[in-house]
Amino acid sequence: MKLKTLGLGVAIAGVMGTAALAQNCGPDGQSIRILGSDFPAIQAVSGTAQANCGAGAGDFTVTLRDNTRDIMNQALTPNPAEYTSVIVANSTLTQLMNDDLVRPLNDLVEKYGQDLKPNQLITIDGNVMAVAFMANSQHLFSRTDILEQAGVEGIPSTVDEIVAAAEKIRAAGIMEYPITMNMKVGWNMGEVFNLFYFAHGGELFKPGSAEPNVNNEAGVAALNSIKALLEYTHPDHLTQASNETQAVWEAGQAALGIMWGSRGGAVLDDEGSTAEVTENTVLSAAPTAGGGAIPAATLWWDGVTIAKNVSDEEAEATFAALMTAMTSDMVAENNDKAIWLIDGFEPGAAAAGVAATAAGGAKPYPMIPYAGLMHNALGAELADFYQGDESAEDALADVEAAYRTAAKEEGFLQ
């Protein structure tokens, strides 16, 4: 009897051992707690990690929600932290690093990261702070059938061409508001400025300092490019973010959109829209502006971090579990859900826009500690300009003043 139990035990241990060997999940019995935004690519990564290593872990929770950036710093501050890993993007990694809440991953990458490509590693001063798994950017969505109907040839590639195409569509009486873009007051409105400011060759800060640098020719040119586009967007644009613009697109109410690449898969799939819309939607590079060559977009990555305030064992188990998900098998199963940076990705139609935008030389979203403050000032102070209450110069002067106030409070400016 005893021998039998022992034998069974050994057998089970053996099976589990091989399972653990096949999926190198790191130390057993640890608590793994992952926080991330709720969209398909992150669902795929965290879900695969849970399926691979959930059995061997003490407990394995995945929390996916909206607006993770609002809670992540608070959640990682106590020791032990609420989560062992947060899935972040460019800007949110900075937000965590500002409070020193994530740990360098060099030794863990050495131990578990054999399958990673070098460009997946986000290194700052030699320390790997995050491991990226997907790329994202804004780019142009076009409805070829409507462009054709209005007599527009080809896909527009500059702001002027988009405005001309929109005018033709309006003149032909097909749509009154053919353009849609994420202009919701706050983060989205600030981000749109970034896109066009970078396309006009602007830099948010004076080189090597935290001094603001937006009230200049490039800033005014950026605002004028945006204003030209807004002539053809629905008057409600200041309340529209990704969910709204995607709905507008899927309802067939827009013909030209500047939206996130991560929405491409959801727009092109057979849910939430008609065949007429999905079959005629083409994804292409973000437009250039003012005769420049840089696409009006910011490049983003999403990647995993490991919390500083957790035990080394928990950190190792969490990292190992997430690494089991970053494989070509996972990508093969979820190919169209993201622009994967992982080996084995085959770019499809949904990836065309981001790929072309990156190839066009778009700038990455700045990973600077005070970029968030500037972004917030842009998102609050530019509304007056878009509503026609203020000149571009006055609005940009307000942005700089608001940023300066906040940066002084945070100790970046004196």
Partner: protein
């Protein structure tokens, strides 16, 4: 009651109030006097999927040491209160000296975030409060005269807006005023203007927020006044009627004076509630057109990524001050009434 007995009687409440109300306010006040240390920045090479570049980051060790030495940060006195994000003494002074008429000065003032929020908050408070008071009383009187059978259902229906969570209620209205929603589309047809958009116009957005505010708080004043109406002495009413007073006169000279303590109570509650309006602005995505003091605090804590604690603290303290100023006349009146009755 003896003073000693009274003290023992009130002690549990008093200590809870000190612990959960007074101390947190003191703590917020202290935090609002400090700003972050000067950040120790390092420039280093940073690499990622899109290539390498030199990036600035915060020197974590040096910052941790500074924080350990002075955990509250750098003392700034009332600097945060007077900076551009709040009372903006320098900017207001400039605007006043360079003014081109009062209208121009007000425009400049509306360009400063704190004053923008303050002006909306005050407008909202002083429009919504009287409307809710008068409408609430009117509905209560109306329901009170209904026959017994219909009274119950009428009360239930009148209370409905109060049962809906503010966020959900305002979201429903937000969808209804959309260009494709029932109210938005009706307005477009009525005014024969297909580009009419409530969400794109500042005056319409302000109106919608206030209409929502009235809709949502009306049941509160209604139910309080309705309860009060049940206690109006029938003898006095009858006496008034015998003396030849009509319905309107009875209302004005008997019912309203009887309800005065309740009017004071409802006014106090409404002033406090309306002064901290927040949810409808979030649900309506109205930030571009209207910001309240509470939204301003919310924005400092949520939108900036790394929260601006002293800025939020300063706005909080000034909001509390605002509530105190608003309530003072009502409280003085109550105190006087109380003294008159006591003598």
């Amino acid at each position: 009651m003896k003073h000693r007995t009274f003290l023992w009687f009130i002690l549990p409440t008093l200590s809870a109030m000190i612990l959960f109300i007074a101390l947190p306010i003191v703590s917020v006040f202290i935090q609002s006097l400090f700003v972050q240390h000067e950040q120790v920045l390092v420039v280093s090479e940073s690499c990622g999927p899109f290539g390498c570049s030199s990036t600035t980051s915060i020197d974590a060790e040096a910052t941790a040491q500074l924080r350990a030495e002075q955990p509250l940060g750098k003392f700034n006195g009332f600097g945060t209160y007077t900076n551009r994000a709040h009372l903006a003494f320098a900017e207001v002074g400039d605007a006043w000296r360079n003014r081109d008429g009062l209208g121009d000065f007000l425009d400049e003032l509306m360009d400063l975030p704190f004053y923008k929020a303050l002006i909306f908050t005050l407008t909202y408070t002083f429009v919504v409060t009287p409307i809710v008071l008068i409408l609430g009383l009117a509905i209560a009187v109306g329901v009170n005269t209904l026959p017994r059978v219909t009274k119950g259902p009428a009360i239930f229906v009148s209370l409905l807006p109060f049962l809906v969570t503010p966020l959900v209620g305002s979201l429903i209205l937000f969808w209804m005023v959309d260009g494709d929603g029932i109210i938005g589309a009706t307005l477009q047809i009525l005014f024969n203007d297909p580009s009419l958009s409530v969400k794109a116009s500042t005056p319409l957005m302000w109106t919608m927020l206030m209409v929502y505010g009235v809709w949502h708080t009306l049941p509160f004043s209604f139910i309080v006044f309705y309860a009060g109406l049940q206690t109006v002495p029938q003898d006095t009413l009858e006496a008034a009627r015998v003396d030849g007073a009509n319905k309107w006169e009875t209302m004005l000279h008997v019912v309203v004076p009887h309800l005065m303590p309740l009017v004071t109570f409802v006014t106090l509650m409404l002033l406090m509630d309306n002064f901290r309006v927040l949810e409808p602005i979030v649900s309506f995505s109205a930030q571009g057109h209207a910001q309240s003091l509470s939204y301003y605090i919310f924005n400092d804590l949520r939108e900036a990524g790394n929260p601006l604690y002293s800025s939020a603290g300063a706005t909080s303290m000034m909001t509390i001050l605002g509530v105190v100023i608003l309530l003072t006349p009502v409280l003085i009146r109550t105190w006087r009434d109380f003294n008159q009755r006591a003598h």
